[in-house]
């Protein structure tokens, strides 16, 4: 690097009770570069950027900013220095408007003057904002734009983004990347945390890789492949998941949905219209689509969380399940992995053992003489932890103490080990690092090979193509006809994503 480093960290250490999150980390970020910070869940990325932003204080080590050793005491000081940060979980106030949210993070200023500056900055970087809308009413992409504009208004020299694209649609991601390139051209530095390796390869100039709290490598992403980056992160070879075996067309239908209509009871929900699908034993049906096109409603309808449909039927292993609650559906042989890990798939403040009991009791019957047999639940949980490589301090750890990827492995494992006949899973590897994702994919394939039917809802096209036998696209609450994987391309899926799939006569489907 010929340029003077903008930010330079040397020997940063930070420990929390029971874990050394950062162990002697060095990092250099130069002006005008987009620098990726890579690592598995729990590798210490978030801790490191929180130190840079003054949210956490390092136990040891130096932070140099523009060549000077600096102690960053708090975020306000970081902002004064010229460091801005966009958090993974946005730091926005839902009950307030866009303008108020931005005003709160800036020094006092006349609201009307701020409004003008806001509009100028937003349009200069192509970030559409509505100053007077309340945040709770906005999409994830719009919320992120508020955070970014809020940072930009402070004219930062360094902008930190923590997994910015995990909540964005492909279109929103594209807008973000254009903005970031513009910023880099203005000689601002960007520190970019992401799990999406293809994204890092195309966007970032340099990458620093962390593993287990240490810096293990520096590289130029453009000269790497996604696979080689993943291997550097994990520290071992990534197993290539093999293609699925073909299925026997005569095998029995485990899940059949026909003509399903659902009225969404969410604030900005999508009503499902005339959804029909079939999943056979030993088959994976992948449902692709951009978030917010009815995936949540479909998952709720299949798992039985939302009430009975307005029209149509859901049949699980030959039994009409329209009126059945989730527990009864589980007893029929279906298991479910919803999208939200915390608060939906797992109870944050309960232990892993408790969480196993909550969904496992129906199929595994943990009671003995009418009382809960906790040792049996603990054995089962231990089994999940071992088989699915869940990294935790023990089965009595709280669900909230696990990193996202580990908790996801636990949740998927907990369902798979219940020996289901049907697995319905939504976003199986959302926010999960490459190693954990590969492990989850492998487990799903192993499950399918034993004759289980799997319905997978996913935004990740690579994942959909990797695992599915047939693919359908959900768009505006309607579902396209499922096509075998060798008859559909990613381009076809892109085209199907934007349109409403009207029910057409069967003959037209063949030629469509």
């Amino acid at each position: 690097m010929t340029e003077q480093g903008l930010l330079s960290l040397t020997g940063i250490c930070k420990s929390f009770p029971g874990c050394l999150a950062n162990d002697n980390i060095d990092l250099d970020v130069a002006a005008g570069e987009i620098h990726a910070l890579l690592g598995e869940n729990g590798a210490g990325k978030s801790t490191l950027v929180k130190i840079i932003y003054g949210v956490l204080r390092p136990d040891r080590g130096d932070v140099r900013w523009q060549g000077e050793v600096t102690r960053i005491e708090n975020p306000a000081q970081a902002r004064t220095l010229g460091i801005g940060m966009v958090f993974q979980h946005f730091s926005l106030f839902e009950a307030m408007t866009t303008l108020e949210n931005i005003a709160l993070a800036l020094p006092p200023e006349d609201p009307e003057a701020l409004r003008v500056r806001l509009q100028e900055t937003a349009s200069a970087y192509g970030l559409a904002l509505q100053p007077d809308r309340h945040v709770y009413d906005l999409s994830m992409g719009e919320r992120q734009r508020i955070e970014i504009v809020r940072c930009l208004l402070q004219d930062p020299q360094l902008l930190i983004l923590d997994e910015p694209t995990s909540v964005l649609t492909p279109q929103e991601t594209e807008i973000l990347f254009e903005t970031l390139h513009t910023l880099a051209q203005e000689d601002r530095a960007i520190l970019y945390i992401s799990h999406k390796l293809e994204e890092v390869r195309s966007l970032c100039d340099r990458a620093t890789i962390l593993r287990g709290g240490r810096r293990v490598d520096d590289c130029l992403p453009a000269q790497e492949t996604a696979r080689s980056l993943a291997e550097k992160m994990i520290g071992k070879k990534v197993q290539q998941v093999s293609r699925l075996s073909p299925i026997d067309s005569g095998s029995s239908v485990h899940l059949a949905v026909s003509g399903l209509n659902i009225h969404s009871d969410l604030a900005h929900g999508i009503d499902l219209t005339d959804i029909s699908l079939e999943v056979r034993a030993g088959e994976v049906l992948g449902i692709a689509g951009i978030a917010g096109n009815g995936q949540i409603e479909l998952m709720g309808a299949l798992s039985g969380e939302t009430g009975s449909p307005l029209a149509g039927s859901i049949s699980i292993l030959g039994t009409n399940a329209n009126q059945l609650n989730p527990t009864v559906r589980r007893s029929l042989g279906a298991v479910f992995v919803p999208e939200e890990r915390i608060g939906h798939a797992a109870v944050a403040d309960m232990t892993l053992v408790d969480n196993s009991y909550l969904t496992g009791d129906t199929r595994l019957n943990f009671s003995r003489r009418g009382l809960i047999d906790w040792p049996a639940v603990a054995r089962y949980t231990q089994n999940v932890v071992q088989n699915f490589d869940v990294r935790t301090t023990g089965v009595d750890a709280l669900a909230s103490s696990l990193s996202g990827g580990n908790l996801q492995k636990f949740i998927v494992g907990r369902e798979i080990l219940q020996e289901p006949s049907l697995l319905v899973v939504s976003q199986p590897t959302w926010g999960v690092d490459a190693g954990a994702a590969a492990a989850i994919h492998e487990e799903i394939q192993r499950l399918v090979s034993t004759g289980v039917a799997v319905l997978m809802i996913s935004q990740d096209l690579d994942e959909v193509f990797l695992l599915s036998h047939r693919i359908a696209v959900i768009s505006q609450g309607t579902l396209s006809t499922a096509k075998p994987i060798d008859e559909i391309t990613p381009e076809d899926i892109g085209l199907l994503m934007g349109v409403r799939h009207e029910a057409l006569p069967e003959a037209d489907h063949a030629t469509a």
Partner: protein, 307 residues
């Protein structure tokens, strides 16, 4: 007849004033995300220390200062326990009320039956002597006006000032407020202390103005009504005014109904503020947007900043 109506309206104002004080304070406290159920206890503490100070010094104004100060002290105990030691806010608030009830009975033991010179109603020449309007607008004691001024001040603070916005932000998302660099715990300490000050003044009003004497448990549930009032007002100061007068009116109605020998049981009348609150709760729960905009999302949740 007019005189009777005027007299009723005057007493309604005096009944509303302690509620206005306590509810305005609790509103600020809750808007910062802290639920202090100790209002009743803080009012009693304010009432007894205010009365004792006035009785000893013979100066009711000093008594009022003591009432406010003792309210702050009591609230700081609560703040230390819930904000620094992270104890459960509901349990700690209830404990504060029980503590306040006991402490005030102990301190007030020697003062039962004593009298003091109450803080007198103001009398402006000409203005206060106007028919009807005179007493209604210019014939109250100074604290009635003070409670109005404070309420207006709080409304302006919350709706128009930057610090008010910061306070609401802390109550809406403590984590976000911390992340962008606001001292969440400090702000909550200040909000709780303001709540204590106002509850103390509300209690002091009872023992120094309303009935200038000390009787054990003399707040008679007004702290709870003030708490209900904050919810009734859906955390909006301007609605506190309306609610306080309504609830104060019910109190007066209750006394009058008893005196007039109407067949309505007093217990039924004292139930009304709570029923009104429940009805309001049900009504606002139907409107998700309103809840999102006004109810502090972090209410009652402990916050610890990671370092």
């Amino acid at each position: 007849m007019t005189e009777l109506i005027i007299a009723s309206m005057m007493t309604m104002m005096t009944a509303a004033t302690p509620l206005m004080f306590a509810a305005t304070g609790e509103l600020i406290c809750e808007r910062s995300g802290v639920l202090n159920l100790g209002v009743e206890g803080m009012m009693l503490i304010g009432a007894v220390f205010g009365f004792a100070t006035a009785a000893v010094t013979g100066n009711a104004s000093l008594g009022l200062l003591a009432a406010g100060a003792s309210g702050i002290l009591a609230s700081l105990i609560f703040a230390f326990l819930t904000l620094t030691m992270l104890s459960n806010q509901v349990a700690t608030g209830l404990a504060l009320t029980i503590f306040g009830t006991g402490l005030s009975a102990l301190v007030g033991f020697d003062y039962v039956g004593e009298t003091i010179d109450r803080i007198a109603a103001i009398h402006l020449p000409v203005l206060s002597d106007l028919p009807v309007v005179g007493p209604l607008l210019f014939g109250h004691d100074p604290l009635v006006y003070l409670s109005f001024i404070l309420l207006i001040g709080v409304a302006l603070f919350l709706n128009r000032s930057r610090w008010g916005m910061i306070l609401k932000a802390v109550g809406d998302s403590d984590v976000s407020a911390h992340a962008i660099g606001y001292p969440v715990v400090l702000i909550r300490y200040a909000a709780v202390a303001f709540g204590g000050l106002m509850a103390g003044l509300g209690g002091g009003y009872l023992s120094l103005v309303y009935t200038p004497l000390w009787a054990e448990n003399m707040t008679a549930g007004r702290g709870w009504i003030a708490l209900a009032l904050v919810v009734f007002a859906s955390w909006r100061p301007e609605r506190v005014l309306f609610g306080a007068i309504l609830f104060g009116g019910i109190t007066i109605l209750q006394l009058n109904a008893q005196a007039a020998g109407l067949g309505i049981p007093a217990a039924f009348m004292s139930m009304l503020p709570y029923i009104a609150t429940i009805v309001v709760l049900v009504l606002i729960s139907r409107d998700v947007v309103r809840i999102r905009l006004n109810a502090p999302a972090c209410l009652g949740r402990p916050f610890r900043a990671e370092r």
